[in-house]
Symmetry: C3
Subunit: 413 residues, 3 copies
Amino acid sequence: MPAQRTVPAQQTLLRGAMQRLDLTRNAFAERLGVTRRALDTWLLPASSREHRSMPDVVAKMIGTLGVPAAGAAAPSNLRARLTRPGKPHLLSVDVFDRDLAEEVLRVAETMEPIARREKVTRVLEGAVLGNLFFEPSTRTRVSFGAAFCRLGGAVCDTTGFTFSSMAKGESIHDTSRVISGYVDAIVVRHPEKGSVAEFAAATHIPVINGGDGPGEHPTQALLDLYTIHRELSRIDRKLDGAHVAMVGDLKHGRTVHSLIKLLSLYKGLKFSLVAPGSLEMPPALVALARERGHRVVEADTLAKGVRNPDILYATRIQKERMGGEGLESYPANFRIDRAAVKAHCAKHTVLMHPLPRDSTPGANDLADDLDRDPRLAIFRQTDSGIPVRMAIFAILLGVDHLVSGNLRDATWK
Amino acid sequence: MPAQRTVPAQQTLLRGAMQRLDLTRNAFAERLGVTRRALDTWLLPASSREHRSMPDVVAKMIGTLGVPAAGAAAPSNLRARLTRPGKPHLLSVDVFDRDLAEEVLRVAETMEPIARREKVTRVLEGAVLGNLFFEPSTRTRVSFGAAFCRLGGAVCDTTGFTFSSMAKGESIHDTSRVISGYVDAIVVRHPEKGSVAEFAAATHIPVINGGDGPGEHPTQALLDLYTIHRELSRIDRKLDGAHVAMVGDLKHGRTVHSLIKLLSLYKGLKFSLVAPGSLEMPPALVALARERGHRVVEADTLAKGVRNPDILYATRIQKERMGGEGLESYPANFRIDRAAVKAHCAKHTVLMHPLPRDSTPGANDLADDLDRDPRLAIFRQTDSGIPVRMAIFAILLGVDHLVSGNLRDATWK
Amino acid sequence: MPAQRTVPAQQTLLRGAMQRLDLTRNAFAERLGVTRRALDTWLLPASSREHRSMPDVVAKMIGTLGVPAAGAAAPSNLRARLTRPGKPHLLSVDVFDRDLAEEVLRVAETMEPIARREKVTRVLEGAVLGNLFFEPSTRTRVSFGAAFCRLGGAVCDTTGFTFSSMAKGESIHDTSRVISGYVDAIVVRHPEKGSVAEFAAATHIPVINGGDGPGEHPTQALLDLYTIHRELSRIDRKLDGAHVAMVGDLKHGRTVHSLIKLLSLYKGLKFSLVAPGSLEMPPALVALARERGHRVVEADTLAKGVRNPDILYATRIQKERMGGEGLESYPANFRIDRAAVKAHCAKHTVLMHPLPRDSTPGANDLADDLDRDPRLAIFRQTDSGIPVRMAIFAILLGVDHLVSGNLRDATWK
């Protein structure tokens, strides 16, 4: 089975490289330092008696050839479109139009074989990520770190509420500038809104906002959009015209704020926004969606607000946020469990959640009695963090065009 | 000197690769893209005038060739024997019979040149380990992490008592499933017995129990067994029929519990179990050893219980566990120092300890006045953590058969 | 532009390798497994029609060839001069004479293309660093970690005030010896003076003092010296005969203590030491500088002590250290801001600081109104941490002579 899978890959790889390098077979064989005859046998269909399997080292060599060779794949213009000159950062989803978002997601698609551990790339070998978490968020930190490792880079982590040097009065500017001299890209998670932008302002190396308190968390929004595309494609629907319900604390959830912005780039959606009275989606975001021609329905109970959506995006409600009498007046009616899904959702409804979810009994959250329901997409959603974050790193570091030429089979399973 | 050491390695490597790939010299030279003549010179004895030293890149190439080539070394069946389908975990020593334990230790032997920093392998290049320590244990965390790095992989660490997301009510199931989407293998250390098994139940990627409170710590037991084999071999004895004394807190020490299970797989041992009255080895484990035909002697002082054993395995006694009047009634008689060893041990007795040991004055522990005694095997014991953990990773990830074909000399010393 | 930059590198690399390996073109081509003709085209000037660009894999191969080949570049004697046999540590600057310091800095110079992210080396691939920070110092930890990664190695980090095992009574000796079995080099930061030396005494692998409280921090002193050399060279001056002002808390700052020792290795310097009454440079160090023939002027205000120095090295004064009435009597006269620089410095004066600096308003520290002043060298100074620490790792691990033959272009920008 490995042999069969390798064959088309071998031919695709060779043809792709010849095309990219714009070389004839003779010139390509010479470039590789192999005989023309050997190259020919590798290009033959597997069914041919003359077919030979290409040594892995040649695939490796081709990956390397592709990298800095003059005639190699042209760099994409994605970094230029995603960032401003001298400011190669990703701080907010506001930078996206629909085309740009979709092109970034297409790069993420090309990362899937690596994210699924079928392929290995070393395109960022030698690069170092500063993964700076000023507030703890283990899963997000590991997701960024693993994504960078899967591109071949190395990671220096920081966790904890503060840098010791910041405790000594050091400015964010200085911290940022110092770390920039050590690493090639920085992820910053910080509890205060705007502090990641302040961090980014002090440096010319790429900074990715990994969540700044109530502010933004753009890679989460991108992985949500990526998941929505893939899930809708699985059930044979399109995002234009889809019905998306968002349920829970829509006031404090930066996830749903960024997501509604991205979804509003599409056409003719229906948004069902369901939140307790004091936790509604901010009016400015509702207005934005309406201005762009989407239909928005707001409600304060599942029964009133959710009816067979294509996507149900649930978020957690912290009880202490439901106000004085919240606990009594909304005993459990924001709990999304099997019964609620049966009552309000369709057979095709995709169930999403940014995680973590509160699995303690009675929590106003997505319940775990749905864990075997195939509509539950929450782990496919977190899995998507790897290819999406790989794509962002690759784009910001200018290597997104090099990955496809720099792949080999994973040794492990 | 390096040249002399390299020569047999070069020939062994080449012959091994030809055998593994089942190729003639001509076919092998063709596969490598070198002339038959060059290959011949590399295979000649170093004493021959025609002998040439093989470029390192060829060794690298051979390693790569060995990896996914169709005809390469067949995967071992160790993973299948160590785990159940779909559950590639190592949670307990209960899975071992004697043959399986010895085969795992043989894989560990093959890791020695890497653990001793003479050789480098990159067989797991591209793989990522999630090294999750829910309770701190720096040395164990570094041991697992360094072992994975020495196989060529990268490591994402977590330390601290809890995941922030768990504080928000996330279940172990969710945490496990999310992290499984990011990494290729997981080590979990957790203060609560059974929680690692719960973690493992939620995922299909390999989980290794790195210690779950009073529960299990199987890689510690394996490295103890590995050390015992090597030390007995050094003094020209065999484990069958050996005399093993275990001293200290035998009630709370999961290390001695797992070790007595593994040792009981052998034949005709004598166990001397020496513990203060309230801290004895659990009766079930004593019964197990007796059922399997071993002789077990229990005692509550060194004088009564220890007489020239082959192995003396000491563990620490925490004073607060010695009971109300413990401090007075056992003033220091569980301290293993030079005098105690002189009184109770033979010239060949191997001194072991799981570490850390309490080096504060008067501690009921292994004393540091023995540090220059060649019988003291405690650091050879911790050193063994690297090859044993490398073996476990390699087996669970299905690459144990690839390591020997994927080696090169270390550049540093 | 990349093509143009690559061409001289390609020729330099090839010629350098032939020289180092002492091979003719024919022998070198044979060693690489390429035709003589191909080698010739790679060596031709870029302007020639026959010039061909060398496949990257060949550069990689050359790097590898350089590494353990019998005839390769001879190891330098720097490790032998920097350390004692069996004790390959860097614990103090006291080991340096002028020649040795300058040779180490020359090795650091060779690391610049890697530190600037133009080149990648993998010379330490397979090696593991134990980066043990018993007190937190994020920037220093990341600087050491990133330096080791940029040599191709992997890093296991520890942060926090103590090892859990030390809390259980484990001695520094045991901790050191255990970790030494896992990794290839150790950086230790510890709040207590002398504890790093105690750590080093227990092991035969390289230990680097990353700061032991009021004791030493030798790599900081080296990077300061490195920066001073580069900055003076930029303004076309030499260190012999230079005028160096040190300002601030000269009593508690281990940085200035180590730096004045290193600078005293040079000839005919003038030191202006400016500190509040209770925070003066220790008399023993003043005496040392004078014994070596330097002129030392001490003062307690900037106005009296600083007049157009070549280097102004500022350090922070913690208000609580200024004594009982300190706050009143020295309201802000140790603040180095634009006005102070205008009043006391020359147009060429280089402004340095070990960082972090206190940027809170009114702090007795280097002010951020100087941030756009080209004389401010503080970030060039922190940037120098990477090449200097790479040099120290490379020397202590015996690979400093291998780096130049083990380089390739970075893929990212």
